[in-house]
Each structure stands twice: as C-alpha cells, then as structure tokens.
C-alpha cells in the first residue's frame, strides 16, 4: 500500500510498504477514506519530537471502512464506516475506566522510554514517534487499529467524511480544552492559536456558554475564520500588545480562562524573546518555545483556569511560576481523551449545533501529502487544515 512516511526533519514521502495485518485479537484493519494532517504532525515534521525513525508512517487523524476484524472484535464488522480516535486505549485499565483514555496504562509497548522522560507513560498514539508506541499511522491506504472494540465509532451516512474525520482529534481536543475551562455564564474565554484546534476550542467555548470568545493569532485569514464562523473577537499579536488589549477588552480583569492551543513551537511578536527561545530550542537546550503558555498565564484573571491543549514534548524555560502561584491560577491539561467525546460530539454535529469542517481549507489526494505538509507548514494559500483523500 501507499503510506506517508517521515524521512527526516522537513521531509515526508509517500512510499510503498506492506499492507497491515491483524497483530492482536482486538485489532481491526481499516481502509482509509479520509485522513488529515494535524498541527502536531508539524512538530514531528520539524524534528522536535524525539524517537522518530526514518520510514515511520505518519498520521493520527483518519477514518474509513472496516475491512477485517480480529476474533475479539464484536462491535464492528467489515463494511462499517468508522472514525478512529488518535489515542490508542485498551478500555480496561484503571485510567481507561475513569475515562482517561489518553493515559491508557497498556497501549504503549515502549512505556520504558516514555517513563525515562515523563515519569510515567501516556497512551500510545498512531504515527506519533516510538516514544508513544511506534504505531504505524493513518496517512496511508490502510491502517491497523488496536483495541478496535474500544476506539472507533460508526459514522452514520448523513455525516460527511470531512465532518467525521474532525472527531479523530481536533474537535474533541478543542472541546476538551473548552470543557476544562469550566465555563460559567458571563465568562470571557481567550484562545491562543487560530489553527484547527484553537478554532474548534473557541467554537466549543461558545457551545458551552461562554459570553465572549477572544482568539489570538497572527494570520489574518485565520482570524477572519474565527470571526465569520464563531463570532469570536480577534487579536493579531503582530499589530497590538496582547496583554494590554486583553486587559482593555475585559476592563482590567483578564479572561476568566485562557486556552493554549499553540504548544511547543510558539511564535510571537516579541522578537528578542522569540530569538532567545528559538536559539535554545535549536541547540536542544530547551525543547519547547512556550511563549503562548507564558502569555496565557500572565493574561489570565486571578483564580482563573489555564487550559493547555497545545502539544508539548519535553521541558520549558522561564515558566512564570510566581504569577501562577501568587494569583491562584489553575492549570488543566492533557492529550484529549477522545473516546470520551466522540459520541456526544457526533450527536452535536447530527443536531446541527456545529459543523466542525469549517476549518478545512485543502483537500488533496494522498500522493500529494508532501505538498500538503509544505503548505501547512508555510501557511501558504491560506492553509488551515489539509485533508488527504485516499
């Protein structure tokens, strides 16, 4: 089959690899119809996630048709149209049973490596480095889906591929980011990053009753999407000072909750600070450029919530612990426990409360994956979200 493989920093190729086969009794094989490039795939693309190997198949947002199931999979049958959550979760460990699917205790066969860096191991993730399991990803014609009796959900015919594939990662991730803010009537929510996850976090904050949603980015085309589809207020951090503007917008209180939907490769307008973090990251002295996170902490109302859904992989410097501690902030974070959200969010789409596919800007065939990575990375052609059609 054809598959999108990581070939080194800034290099992906569509290569021929063997077709996947059932390896565990609870596996299913899915023939992929639509798969997406995620912002976190760009972290891999840039080489900031450790433990990648040349030839690793990328992709953790995918859906398609079940073509084969292992002997222990009874809820699915060949022919079912399914969308697959990006965290691989067994459903039976204590974490899964508490709904914490992205920290499944059994799904990372390389837990020993992850423990050395993170203390304990999170769940395995499709196509997301050997640190998180060494699983082949879904930017391919077929994928093996472990624990198919727990993760994938069937998609009804009236839901399009473009809508359904949003349930693999970005919509649940954005939704969890908003949910962690514990939004109360009248509250103002600020979101750093108007990429797919930031936009869907902002949209979810609306769904969950936020009075006002403010979104911060530097790309006017993305900010326009937020205004048009979410009715969000926008701040372009390249033209104004973010903290001053947020204080002005909230009459000095600061947003009640701040969502970091940027993560480890933050960009920002303060050139000297950016250069400092960029240089440390390039020298691998610091693995992240956490500017959005620092700013979210400083901006947040005292006693408010900082919700982190942007991806981080290692260590950050200059963490404003003083502000965080003295102002009674709360931080909530996590890779999304997608399995918890797929059904309720599918129902919200069915009820017409939201169409998350408004973020999609590009659709192209799988063979064009390298081009998709390039334009997504460079933000060319007003790129927000690239779907690959198989």
């Amino acid at each position: 089959m054809k598959a999108t493989a990581w070939m080194g920093a800034d290099s992906v190729k569509v290569i021929d690899v063997p077709d996947p086969k059932i390896m565990n009794a609870r596996d299913a094989i899915v023939r992929i119809s639509t798969t997406a490039i995620c912002g976190s795939d760009l972290h891999l693309y840039h080489g900031y996630i450790p433990a990648m190997r040349k030839g690793d198949i990328l992709g953790h947002e995918f859906m398609g048709e079940v073509v084969e199931v292992g002997p222990q999979v009874r809820n699915l049958a060949p022919g079912d149209r399914v969308v697959v959550p990006f965290p691989i979760a067994c459903g039976h460990c204590a974490s899964c049973q508490r709904g914490l699917y992205s920290v499944c205790e059994n799904s990372n066969p390389n837990a020993g490596i992850a423990e050395k860096i993170m203390g304990h191991s999170p769940a395995g993730i499709f196509g997301y480095s050997h640190l998180l399991g060494g699983y082949a990803g879904g930017q391919a014609e077929y994928a093996r889906v472990p624990f198919a009796d727990v993760g994938p959900i069937k998609v009804p015919d009236e839901i399009s591929d473009d809508q359904a594939v949003m349930l693999a990662d970005v919509f649940p991730t954005g939704y969890m980011g908003a949910e962690m803010c514990d939004i109360k009537p009248g509250q103002v929510i600020a979101v750093w990053g108007a990429g797919p996850v930031g936009l869907l976090a902002a949209a979810s904050a609306r769904l969950l009753g936020a009075e006002r949603v403010i979104i911060i980015d530097r790309f006017p085309y993305r900010l326009r999407l937020a205004e048009k589809h979410i009715g969000a207020e926008t701040i372009n951090y390249e033209s104004v000072d973010v903290l001053d503007t947020l204080n002005a917008m909230t009459a000095g209180r600061g947003p009640d909750a701040c969502i970091d939907a940027v993560g480890m490769e933050s960009h920002h307008g303060n050139t000297a600070m950016y250069a400092y973090d960029r240089a440390k990251q390039a020298a691998r002295v610091e693995t992240e450029r956490p500017f959005a996170l620092r700013q979210a902490i400083l901006a947040c109302r005292s006693g408010g919530v900082v919700s982190v859904i942007g991806a981080y992989g290692g260590f950050v410097d200059k963490f404003p612990m003083g502000a965080f501690m003295n102002r009674s902030l709360v931080m909530r974070t996590g890779q999304c426990h997608v399995q918890r959200y797929t059904r309720p969010l599918l129902e919200r789409i069915q009820r017409g409360e939201i169409d998350p596919s408004f973020i999609v800007s590009h659709r192209m065939p799988l063979r064009d994956a390298p081009k998709g990575y390039k334009i997504f990375q460079k933000k060319q052609d007003d790129c927000t979200k690239v779907l690959l059609k198989v």
């Binding site: 030839g55 066969p109 699983y135």
Partner: protein, 316 residues
C-alpha cells in the same frame, strides 16, 4: 514465608564447601612439621639427601607449608590459600625437575616418586582452589530485587493466572516454556541468544491461595533461583498490587554470559517489563504489539525499533 531472601537455596545458602581445603591444611601441617623437625629423613625419603642445598631449602619449605596450613585451617579465604598451595607446588615441581635431571639409580627413583606425589597433590590443590573460588563468586553474584505493578483485577484473578505456572511464558519474555509436572513441581526452559537454553526444575514451597506463591529451583540447578509473588489488594478499590521478589545467581563462564544477556544490562528493567506484560495480559487479554515493537514491551526491542510500518509478510 515472609521474604524471598529467607528461601534457602542450597547452592547459595549452604556453607562454602570446606572439607577439601581443611584436608589440605592438615596435609600442609604434616609436611611442614616433618620438614622442620626431621629434615634429614625427609631429604633421604625424597632422594635429595646428597644435596648440601637441601639442608637449607627443606626448612624453608616447611615454614611455607606451616603458613599454608594456618591459612587453610583458619577457614578464611580458603580459595586464596588453596591457590597459595598451588604456587608452592609449582616451586617444588620446578626444584624436583632439576633434581631428577642430576640423579641416577635409586636416588633418581625416589626423586621421581616424590615428583609424582607432588603432581598428584597439585591436581587436588587446583581442584580445591577452583571449587571454593566458584562457590564464593556465586554468592557474590547473587541478584536480588523487588518489583511491583498495579493490575486492575482482583487478587484472586491475578493469583489464579500466576498459579498456573504454564502461563508464565506468556509474560516472562526470557522463558520458552514452563511445564507443570504436578501441583508443586515444574520444569522451566529459558531461551537465550545464539540458541543457548537454560533449563531447571522448580518447586512451589509455599502457596497461600489468592495471597502469595513462593517457589525455588531444585538443588543442582545451574542457575539457582527463588521467587515470591504477593497479591495485595490495592487501596481505593484499584485492583491488586502484584509484588514480585526474585533472587538468583547467574553462573560464571559462557553460560553466565548467556544468562546475563537473557536479563540484559538492567535485570530489574526486564522484570519490570515482564510485569507490564502480565498487566497487559490480565487487563487486555494479550501482550500489546505495535509495528515498532512487534513482540511487545521489551527493553532490547525499545533500543532497536524497526520503523513504524507494517511488518513484511516474512516476519509475521
């Protein structure tokens, strides 16, 4: 049975064999006293009574033998003292070799007999030195550890799975098979690199249903080992804390190197991985595999990941 280190392994916990060193000590004592008290008769008996040097050499040898005797009979560092005897034997054989070349007739016959006797004693000395040294090193190599994992299953379920010893290879990566001979005894086969196989028999010496199992290898095993697993209810209704204690002494030599490879550079990590697989099998039904780690959790495999893409048909 409160701890695994109270499980006796005869190879490790019995006294270091001391009979042979003590016998050699007595021999040294006799030789030393003889050479000092009656150098004349000793010189005649050994056929060197014609040599003026023998009169001064024999008392020196006697003193050396008394030294060896004191060391060997003291019971401390028997291997070292046995090797000191081997060194003395070598000196004696060298001297006797020269004496043999210079002599003829009856004297030559007596020197030859002496040489033969010393050569025989040398062989016994080497045997004693090697044996006591090996026993001492086996004790020094003993590896002991305690590793635990929390499993989201009841103590009874975890106990039942472990108590069927034939299940052990499903999560203990280095085991090829375990055959239960009866309720207590089992035969274990571990696989190593390059076709090395290590086999031993084990017996369950304490069995507390749903609480703990203690086992040890039978006497004569080349890899003496003992283990104990306890199944403790985890607080807060979170299943079972499975606490494993292990104790074993890898042998020396090629077999020892094979066993060391079995357990890798970090034996504790290997056991931790075994327990992770135990957890996977109990909670999910089997060992979890990925394309990068097609055989499931293992330190060695983590270090040598294949690319995360489907396996070629030849490797399935």
């Amino acid at each position: 049975m409160s701890r695994v280190d109270t499980v006796l392994l005869p190879e490790l916990d019995g006294p270091v064999p001391a009979t042979l060193p003590r016998a050699l000590g007595l021999l040294s004592l006799a030789l030393g006293v003889g050479a000092l008290a009656a150098p004349g008769p000793v010189a005649r008996m050994t056929g060197v009574d014609d040599s003026p040097a023998a009169r001064s050499v024999l008392p020196a040898i006697g003193l050396r033998e008394l030294g060896s005797a004191a060391g060997l009979l003291s019971g401390r560092r028997p291997a070292g003292w046995a090797w000191s005897r081997v060194a003395g034997d070598a000196m004696d054989l060298a001297v006797l070799g020269r004496a043999l070349a210079d002599r003829a007739g009856d004297r030559r016959r007596r020197v030859a007999l002496t040489t033969l006797a010393i050569a025989g004693i040398t062989a016994v000395d080497v045997l004693a030195a090697v044996r006591t040294g090996r026993a001492r090193r086996a004790r020094a190599r003993v590896i002991q550890m305690e590793i635990a994992v929390t499993v989201n299953r009841s103590p009874a379920e975890a106990y039942r799975f472990w108590r069927d010893m034939e299940n052990l290879p499903r999560f203990m990566a280095h085991l090829e098979s375990v055959r239960a001979d009866d309720l207590r005894r089992s035969h274990w086969i571990a696989r190593g690199p390059a076709g090395h196989r290590v086999e031993w028999d084990a017996e369950i010496i304490d069995d507390q249903p749903n609480k703990s199992i203690t086992w040890r290898s039978l006497p004569g095993s080349r890899v003496p080992n003992a283990g104990r697993v306890r199944f403790v209810p985890a607080p807060g209704d979170r299943g079972t804390e499975v606490r494993v204690e292990l104790r074993y002494a890898p042998p020396a030599g090629a077999l020892g190197r094979a066993v060391a490879k079995l357990f890798g550079e970090e034996p504790e990590q290997q056991v931790r991985d075994d327990l992770r697989r135990f957890k996977q099998v109990l909670e999910t039904g089997e060992v979890v595999r990925s394309e990068g780690s097609p055989n499931g959790i293992s330190v060695r495999q983590q270090a040598m990941q294949r690319p995360a893409q489907p396996l070629p048909p030849s490797r399935r």
